[in-house]
Amino acid sequence: MTVVVLCKWSRDPDDVEIGADGAVSFDRAAWELFEYDRVAIELGVTLAAGARVVALSAGAKEIDTTLARKAILSRGVDELFLVSDDRLAAADAGMTGAALAAAVKQIGDVNVVVAGAGSADLYAQQVGIQVGSRLDWYTVNEVTGVSLDGDAAKITRRVGNVTETLNAPLPVAVSLTADAATPRNPGMRDILSAGKKPTTVWSLDDLGVTVEPAFKPLSTAPRGGVSRQQTQFEGSTAAAVQQLVDALRRDGIVGRSEA
């Protein structure tokens, strides 16, 4: 019985800079284990409750660093598996899913795959679903809780405003919500023991995986969203507020009859 937690080592999107011409700079963006990945690891470790729990990640070779290994291994998992291959640079969820599914098969004796709500940088919310589907396992998203009962999993999930509780025979692949668990901070013992835990690195060739991209990027633009008026109302609070109310009246927001 092994629990596999999928995680991504990626750049903090808060500090990614997009030029007016669409040039993307990561110069100021630090590598991190994003919060939703830490939520997944926390839930996976708790779920395993002493059984073997391992972390699995895939990406270009630049993800295989001491910092990444320590960040992941200090969070309660027993081992780390990395699919490290430059063909996975800017991979879509299909490519990543294929690589990770092959890795899960290679790890062997896996009953549960846990994925976070989405990655920090792309937030496609697809990799967990891709992995489970490619393994032909029961696969669901928006999971708020998981517990094990013999060879079945009890899963709670949110679909719109409905909360479902399901019983599913193992193996299962679950993609969590952002709040499915509260990640704990690694203690000194966790950080020190991280260095002693094993990491296994595979290439796509090691796993016999070939990947075809689903997309070809054409252009990138800074995203200002819908263009806005950016009108500021100045002066005293009373004056500014009055101008705002007048504008909202003109726009039909204030003074409307409530249907």
Binding site: P13, D14, V16, I18, G22, A93, G94, A117, G118, D121, L122, Y123, A124, Q125, Q126, I129, Q130, S133, R134, Y138, T139, V140, N141, R158, G160, N161, V162, T163, E164, T165, L166, A168, P169, D179, E212, A214, F215, P217, L218, S219, T220, A221, P222, R223, G224, G225, V226, R228, Q229, Q230, T231, Q232, F233, V241, L244, A247, D251, G252, I253, V254
Partner: protein, 313 residues
Amino acid sequence: MSLSRPVWVLIDGDAGGDTLIGAARAVADTVVALVIGERSLADRVATLGASEVRYLGQPEAPAAVEDYAPALAELVKQESPAAVLLAASTSGRLLGGRLAARLDTAVLPDASALSAEGDALSATHPCYGGAAAVTEQLLAPTAIVALNLNAFGDVAVQGAAAATVLDATIAAAVPPATVVDRAEQVAEGGDLASAKVVIGVGRGFGDDGKVGLAQALADALGGVLACTRPVAEGLGWLPRDRYLGVSGQQIAPDLYLAAGVSGQPQHMVGSEHARLIVAVNKDAQAPIFQSCDYGIVGDLEEVLPALTEAVKA
């Protein structure tokens, strides 16, 4: 320019079918609406401007819409449409993901725009926490695209002739899971998704005792409260289903008034399709002032009560 191969649109409820069909019609000559649900839904969909409507059936519990993935994958392999469009909802992402995996491709997530040039389809979606919009060409023989319906605005087809509904039942796979319980949560504090006026609470409020200032304004305008993720998850001033952003709710009210909110892209993505955005923040450098229609630089403890009174006058 329009795709010559058909675009399929998957509809499993009344909300958003018009937008999906309208978005498809803008890029393809032939639009086929595939309907899962009650037969009457197919009849309503028939008026929305698709060239063809196929009624696939209704899943019998415990099967749900996502359990149609295997049968849909077979249909796609047989007929090779240019694309399958779905709503970027929980079930759309799950069905789309399962379908894409079976077709050895990936879902283009959270599309905000679609375009076609010759037989090449491309779509735009956000990246880097909402800071960038990336336009990608879709390379798979059948592209699977999940649409952010709010981003498409008013694309519904007007004055279309009603299409004939074809009965084209396919089988849903029987899931191995059993549903033990299903409970509908009533949204306390009013339904966020349908509210016309939403007041956003950010960390600038300082403590949850001040949140009442936002509630009073919401009451005066007939609106509901929302917030930023730190306010819900970190500080717990408001429930988690109230936060707007990349990983939270995404709304399109007539007015989103954000007070004490700095305006990070991850949050603003949640309200970017609001008709009007108003910002109240004491920091004149806060990024939100670039993302709003109207702004007041000031102390929300003064501005909000003054605004509440002025609105009631």
